[in-house]
């Protein structure tokens, strides 16, 4: 007759946490006991269902990381939902006017630069990764040998636009030997995960 295997031991066996002798005892019991095998199979089904329920989260697009500094801790604890967070952060940002104008759809297209000053392409090359991975307020330095420029990019704040896309305001400085450029703008992440610059103001 096989040894009695209690449920906790069976679970530990499933998790590979038993010592070799104890594991052998469980295996011997499993060989003789249909009921025990079925109980083990039921536990395995639980783990399969857990994976099916939670693993898709690993492949779900992540929201961008938001503002680090200037977040009031108390308000942060009490509020929930992106809407509150967004409003607070938009106000916290130096670019509040720009963002609100943009969000309201009243931003004048005439602010677009008619032709790109040198360095703007270098900024655009940096934006997707910086906006996707960096916390607001973090300055990332870059060096672009192709464009022959170097500079910094800094996400300023994060908010949801009316279409439910995550948008981030950013500030960038770029310079080469002859000139320097400061650029501020807003980019939004589209459904395919691309960061599309919606507004950008460059000051040479």
């Amino acid at each position: 007759m096989a040894a009695m295997i209690d449920p906790a031991t069976l679970v530990a066996y499933l998790d590979g946490e038993l010592g070799p002798a104890a594991a052998l005892r469980v295996e011997a019991a499993l060989a003789e006991d249909d009921g025990l095998r079925e109980r083990l199979a039921a536990l395995r089904r639980v783990d399969g269902a857990l994976s099916a329920a939670f693993d898709p989260i690993l492949d779900t697009p992540l929201p961008p990381l938001a503002l680090v500094s200037g977040r009031p801790p108390l308000a942060a604890e009490k509020s929930s939902g992106a809407g509150h967070r967004v409003g607070r952060m938009a106000l916290a940002a130096g670019l509040a006017g720009l963002i609100l104008g943009f969000a309201g759809g009243q931003f004048s297209p005439s602010l677009w630069e008619p032709s790109e000053p040198p360095g703007v392409a270098a900024i655009h090359a940096q934006l997707p990764e910086v906006l996707e991975t960096q916390l607001s307020g973090t300055t990332v330095a870059f060096n672009d040998p192709v464009q022959g420029v170097s500079g910094t990019v800094r996400p300023l704040t994060t908010f949801l636009n009316a279409d439910g896309q995550y948008c981030r305001a950013f500030e960038a400085h770029v310079s080469d030997l002859a000139s320097a450029l400061t650029s501020r703008g807003v980019a939004c992440r589209d459904a395919e995960g691309r960061w599309v610059t919606r507004v950008q103001v460059n000051a040479v």
């Binding site: 679970v11 530990a12 946490e17 329920a53 898709p56 938001a66 604890e77 929930s80 939902g81």
Partner: protein, 184 residues
């Protein structure tokens, strides 16, 4: 910190970013809602940065981050036990995408399982997520939760047995889709 090679902030940041999906999965199991999970993950990143990524090389980076997440969740629960809405459970649509029939099947099956997990006692939930979902050893999970490994073992066992019993009753996930295909 003293004498050790300086732990590059950039390397720490990259390691932290790489952990985000797993951290988010863990947090969604704890909170029962993807929104709250994202809020918690965001807070963990802020806390990690506040601490200047003071992780000690040689210890498990993963454990350090998950430990922060777990303790922040515990303290949030204490503060926010007041506002506990039923309307903010994870919407599986945001996970599987709106893909017609398949999504409809997934919605029921995934939603059921998450509800079952959310119904477990909090301390069983955290142990279960670490061991059964994240695949940690009892010892590693014990380090994160701040309890002995034997306690992790018994929490994980009770959680799995409760879920097995609940699934038996409902046939959740036992044969994905088949029962639904008939009714739908």
């Amino acid at each position: 910190m003293d004498g050790n090679e300086p732990w590059s902030q950039q390397a720490a940041w990259q390691a932290l970013l790489a952990l985000r999906p797993r951290l988010r999965r863990f947090a969604s199991g704890l909170t029962g809602s993807l929104d709250e999970a994202d809020d918690l993950v965001q807070a963990v990143y802020e806390r990690a940065v506040e601490r200047h990524l003071q992780w000690q090389p040689g210890t498990h980076f993963h454990s350090w981050v998950f430990k922060i997440a777990h303790s922040m969740w515990i303290s949030r629960q204490r503060h926010a036990s007041v506002r506990r809405g039923a309307g903010d459970a994870i919407d599986p649509d945001t996970l599987v995408g709106a893909d017609g029939e398949r999504a409809a099947h997934a919605r029921l099956a995934l939603g059921d399982m998450r509800r079952l997990v959310a119904g477990l006692p909090a301390e069983q939930r955290s142990a279960l997520m670490l061991v059964a979902v994240d695949g940690l050893s009892y010892g590693d999970a014990a380090g994160i939760l701040g309890v002995p490994a034997g306690t992790v073992a018994s929490r994980v066992a009770r959680a799995r047995l409760a879920l097995a019993e609940a699934m038996e009753g409902r046939e959740v996930e036992a044969a994905p889709g088949t029962a639904l295909a008939r009714s739908g």
